[in-house]
């Protein structure tokens, strides 16, 4: 039941009410119709029977009148009439008996038919007596038999007719009672329907109002929430607008940066290519330098070789000098000994002493010369040693220089390769920067779209805000309405 919608509840309530009304109407109509039909049929039957009874009574009288007329005048035609009437009356009585509903009526009407037959027998005997001319006998039969039977029969018929009339009156009374009952029933059902209807209406109103109040309060809170949300959304949209603006500016800046990057990357690629060429030249120069260094080294080694040869020759000179020195020493000794001999010879040795002195002087000079030569040779040796060491150092230095130059060449080669790689990288950077540029353009476009969407969103938000405001007002009005109605119910 609680899952039913309000419309469904209302429809159900009305359906119940309509069903009640229909039931009431049908019940009332059926009751009235049955009452009326019963009444009509019963009344018709009773009245017909009363009328027929009356007919039988009158027919009996007419039969008696015709009999009397025959008796008095001997009119045969009256006899025919009497027989005709008698037959009709008997027929009526038989009909009444056959259509009787109670045992009393059956027995009563059977008795009446028997008496009529008895009367007829008596009347026939009187008629035969009359026909035979025995008037007196016919009058006697009439007065002694026919009249009493007739009197009894008539009284019986009168009673029967009276009973039939009474019965009709009873039926009418019963019908009246039935109709009264029907009216009561109708009234009762109507009142019950009214009460039930009121109850249903109350329940409906209550249910609807409760749900409506809940819904309205929910609506109010929801609308206020929507208002708050739209306010937030509005401020958010403003922030979004700012952010979009900043993003667009940033994207522009990035775009400029990327343009700069592109330019720089192009320049770098160009420069790297040129520098790679330069490095190739540098490598060639380094190779030539290495070759030159190798030649210089070879020259220096040759030089060292020559210097060593010179040094060895100088050594040979030294040996010669040593020999000369020895000669000088011996000359000296010779001069000393010559001097000794001259001294021993006395005056005779004077001239010899001069020669000895001269020899000594020569020896001394030779010694000095050899000493000088030795000094010079020592210097030459020192110089040679220095020169050889210098040459060695030069060779080492040239080796080191060659190694360094080779390293430099290698470095330049690697540099060249790196430069080529740099040029490639710069090329890739260029391509990337161009892609980036395209991407940033797309970003800018997207930002434009977002801005438009945001503006639309803002407008929508304003509309939503307006709608929420209206909804709020509506909910307040609804709340008032519901509360007023509720108050009215409460008062009721």
């Amino acid at each position: 039941m609680s899952k039913w919608t309000i419309g469904r509840r209302i429809a159900a309530g009305y359906a119940v009410l309509i069903a009640l009304l229909v039931v009431t109407a049908v019940v009332g109509t059926l009751a009235l119709r049955s009452t009326r039909e019963d009444f009509t049929s019963a009344l018709t039957t009773a009245e017909n029977r009363a009328i027929k009874g009356t007919d039988a009574l009158q027919g009996g009288d007419a039969v008696v009148t015709a009999f009397l007329s025959y008796l008095l005048r001997g009119n045969e035609r009256a006899l025919d009439t009497m027989n005709e009437r008698l037959e009709a009356t008997r027929e009526v009585k038989v009909q009444l008996r056959d259509s009787a509903t109670t045992a009393a009526q059956v027995s009563g009407w059977t008795d009446a038919i028997r008496q009529l037959d008895a009367w007829n027998q008596a009347a026939q005997r009187a008629i035969e007596a009359r026909r035979a001319g025995r008037r007196q006998e016919a009058v006697d039969i009439y007065s002694e038999e026919v009249i009493p039977i007739r009197t009894t029969e008539r009284a019986l018929v009168v009673d029967l007719v009276t009973a039939e009339r009474r019965r009709a009156a009873e039926i009418a009374n019963a019908a009246s009672e039935d109709s009264r009952n029907s009216i009561w029933l109708l009234l009762t059902v109507s009142v019950a329907a009214l009460v039930l209807g009121v109850l249903i209406a109350w329940a409906l109103a209550r249910a609807v109002t409760r749900h409506l109040r809940d819904t309205v309060s929910t609506l109010a809170s929801t609308s206020s929430e929507i208002l708050a949300a739209t306010a937030q959304q509005a401020s958010g949209a403003a922030e979004e607008e700012t952010a979009i603006h900043q993003t667009t500016t940033t994207a522009d800046e990035v775009r400029q940066t990327v343009a700069l990057t592109t330019e720089k990357a192009r320049a770098v690629a160009q420069e790297a290519r040129e520098t790679a060429d330069i490095s190739r030249d540098g490598r060639k120069a380094v190779e030539e330098s290495v070759r030159g260094t190798q030649e210089a080294r070879a020259s220096m080694e040759t030089l060292a070789e020559r210097i060593l040869a010179l040094s060895e020759q100088a050594q040979q000179i030294g040996e010669i000098v040593r020999t000369v020195n020895g000669l000088a020493e011996q000359s000296n000794l010779l001069s000393v000994n010559a001097g000794i001999e001259a001294a021993k010879a006395g005056e005779a040795g004077r001239g010899f002493a001069v020669v000895a002195a001269e020899v000594k002087s020569l020896a001394e000079q030779s010694r000095q010369a050899t000493a000088q030569i030795r000094d010079i040779l020592g210097e030459i040796q020192a110089a040679t040693q220095a020169a050889v060491m210098a040459a060695e150092q030069g060779v080492k230095a040239s080796e080191a220089g060659q190694a360094i130059t080779s390293e430099a060449g290698e470095a330049i080669r690697i540099l060249g390769e790196r430069l080529v790689a740099s040029a490639d990288s710069a090329q890739q950077i260029l391509a990337s920067a161009q892609q980036q540029m395209t991407g940033i353009d797309q970003v800018a476009m997207a930002m434009q779209n977002i801005r438009q969407a945001s503006a639309q969103n803002m407008a929508s938000t304003r509309q939503v805000e307006q709608a929420a405001r209206e909804l709020d007002t509506l909910s307040k009005r609804l709340t008032e309405l519901v509360d007023r109605r509720n108050g009215a119910y409460a008062k009721a």
């Binding site: 000794l333 000393v336 000994n337 001097g339 000794i340 001294a343 021993k344 002493a353 002087s361």
Partner: protein, 171 residues
């Protein structure tokens, strides 16, 4: 680094080549002759003064000594003398001099000189009937000296010969 002076080097090499040539230059020749003339001219100047003596001058322990030329047999080079076992340090050994065996003496300790120079020569002397050799560092010259006016110390060979320590190798 300044560039090497190759032209200068070539000039110097040329000069060296010229210097090694056989003929001395005229200037050198003239200078040599003048020096010799001076040396010869100086000798007579000393002649008039004092008692002159012929001596053989040698160096021993860095000092100049002399012995009388008349006592000297000969100045010789001192090759390795043959050492004699069981003799004092100052007897360096014996040498063969013209068929005679001479003891070689180191007089530096006796003369109060340090024993640090190489004794390359020997002076064979005769005194007091003894013949022996004095090991010396260098024999300088035979000259006439006025011994009272020079710094040369005259070694008294007679006294040496009379020294009983030198008798060791006396036969």
């Amino acid at each position: 680094m300044t560039a090497f002076d190759w032209d200068g080097a070539r000039r110097r090499l040329e000069a060296a080549r010229l210097a090694l040539a056989d003929e001395p230059s005229p200037e050198e020749e003239r200078a040599l002759l003048e020096e010799r003339a001076r040396a010869l001219a100086l000798a007579p100047e000393r002649e008039p003064d004092g008692p002159w003596q012929d001596v053989v001058v040698f160096t021993l322990g860095g000092e100049r000594f002399a012995v009388e030329a008349g006592q000297v047999a000969e100045a010789v080079e001192l090759d390795a003398p043959t050492p004699l076992p069981g003799t004092p340090d100052f007897l360096l050994g014996v040498i063969n001099h013209r068929g005679r065996v001479l003891g070689v003496y180191d007089l530096r300790e006796r003369l109060g000189r340090p024993r640090d120079g190489e004794l390359a020569h020997a002076v064979a002397v005769e005194a007091g009937g003894l013949c022996f050799a004095i090991a010396v560092e260098a024999v300088e010259e035979t000259t006439r000296e006025r011994l009272d006016r020079t710094l040369v110390t005259l070694v008294d060979v007679e006294a040496l010969a009379a020294d009983p320590r030198l008798r060791i190798e006396d036969e």
